[in-house]
Symmetry: C2
Subunit: 261 residues, 2 copies
DNA sequence: CAGTGGTCTAGACCACACT
DNA sequence: GTGTGGTCTAGACCACTGC
């Protein structure tokens, strides 16, 4: 960590040209990479606090300000959470106020919690082999074992979301319908505590579609009811895809909210 | 700008309790507020450069680091753009690489520019009086003059987006169908140069709907085709709503893309 | 070359939480 | 009070742009 020779030992930025540009990487970016490694390796677990800024500065032999800037960026990406006077903590999905960070469906009237918590109903949960498109989304090979889950979320007693989701079989060994049904809380929180998989970011593709007969029955809607199709790929650290989710949202009394900035 | 008495002269943070908490506001937040004022007042116009960090530090009698942190936040919010070696510039919608910052519809295959630029077709443009819901969205009174525009966007020759938008009549005096048709570029860029209105952020509510007969004709789809309804309220500086837009997106070959993080 | 933003440091002090 | 993150400063040096 010698700042007189700031070479790129943690190569995160992809060079545009081949063999050109020594790919200068600032110190704080390298520190960021090191902290990221500790997060991935599980040295600091979700909900736990990481060492203080001074302590990390000592460990990495840099100034507090440099550690600070690294942590700033990780906190901006919601990987860490700073709490003044207490410390810096590994972000987790098991917190009340960020529980629905990835769920953008909100009631047309009132705020998010006006309807109380969603009722979750596991419809199906089985192991099978990845089809071509599922394998592609999860960076697996066709035929690799995957776990498929189907569930319905209801708000105020009305079925509103039908979700099919696929998980790579290996990291999620031992996940069963019972395990899912018994757990009360965000699914991603269960993934953290039981399987050490923390979802960090996701991409969603949204379309308008019509339901097939099975979907009509589960959501209690007619054939002509337009629904929101939300296809999500969620990623852990390292941009590793860990979940494919296809959701059907009923937007009679709810809407998908998105803030552009 | 005396940092030994950091009182809240630029009250941005809303206090939770009444008459409690002296609402401490850090220096860099106050600087941020001052820069924001200069942006609103038009002292620095979109595309222009603002004074250098050192110059601003001198003007506000603070250190460069403090100005830096203020600019950092404004740049994070896309109000300013930093360019190393050149200066800091007021963000604008008239730039190639951020032209579609607020348009999240992308083709299913290929990237954003694979289809070439969108063809814009102004269908209608007239002045009328605000209905109750439009007035509410634009923070006007019912009956206030508004401008209504209807247009169709086509990609690769196929009509894909039908948009109705409402603008407050006062700031947009002189905006005509001809003016809109003649302008080739993002609509928000025209708003900047011609009317001094810069859109800073927006909220979108997304639903799945079916088109009425008029909409079917304009988008060339059948009655049963599900479409994405995207209702947007766009804001200038100060969280002032300046546009209500209701879009219908055809998602046969495109999808609304959203990155969650 | 000068001017700009970008990085890094060292130290002082403030605000907050816990004990 | 002690320890944590948060703010502010002053100065040095690096990287990029354009004259």
């Amino acid at each position: 960590m010698n700042n007189t020779s700031p070479s790129a030992d943690t190569a995160l930025a992809a060079p545009d040209n081949l063999a050109a540009t020594p790919a200068f990487s600032p110190l704080y970016q390298q520190i960021k990479g090191l902290i990221l490694q500790s997060l991935q390796s599980g040295e600091w677990k979700p909900g736990e606090s990481i060492p203080s800024e001074m302590e990390l500065a000592g460990r990495y032999r840099v100034s507090q300000g440099t550690v600070r800037k690294a942590i700033d960026e990780l906190a901006a990406g919601h990987l860490l959470v700073r709490r003044q006077g207490k410390g810096t903590f590994v972000a987790t999905h098991a917190e009340q106020h960020v529980q629905y960070r990835f769920l953008k469906l909100v009631p047309d009237t009132g705020n998010l919690d006006s309807e109380g918590p969603a009722q979750r109903q596991i419809v199906d949960c089985k192991r099978l082999r990845a089809t071509a498109d599922i394998a592609r989304a999860l960076a697996l090979r066709p035929g690799d074992p995957v776990l498929q889950v189907r569930r319905v979320l209801s708000f105020a007693g009305e079925p509103t979301i039908l979700e099919d989701l696929w998980l790579p079989g290996n990291p999620f060994k031992g996940l069963t319908a019972e395990r899912l049904s018994d757990y009360h809380g965000p699914m991603y929180a269960l993934f953290e505590t039981e399987f050490g998989v923390r979802m960090v970011r996701a991409d969603e593709k949204i379309r308008a579609v019509l339901p097939d007969t099975a979907q009509q029955a589960l959501l209690n809607v007619t054939a002509g009811t337009p629904l929101l199709s939300v296809e999500r790929v969620a990623y852990t650290y390292n941009d590793t895809p860990m979940e494919l989710r296809r959701g059907l949202y009923c937007t009679e009394k709810h809407h998908y909210h998105n803030a552009l900035s």
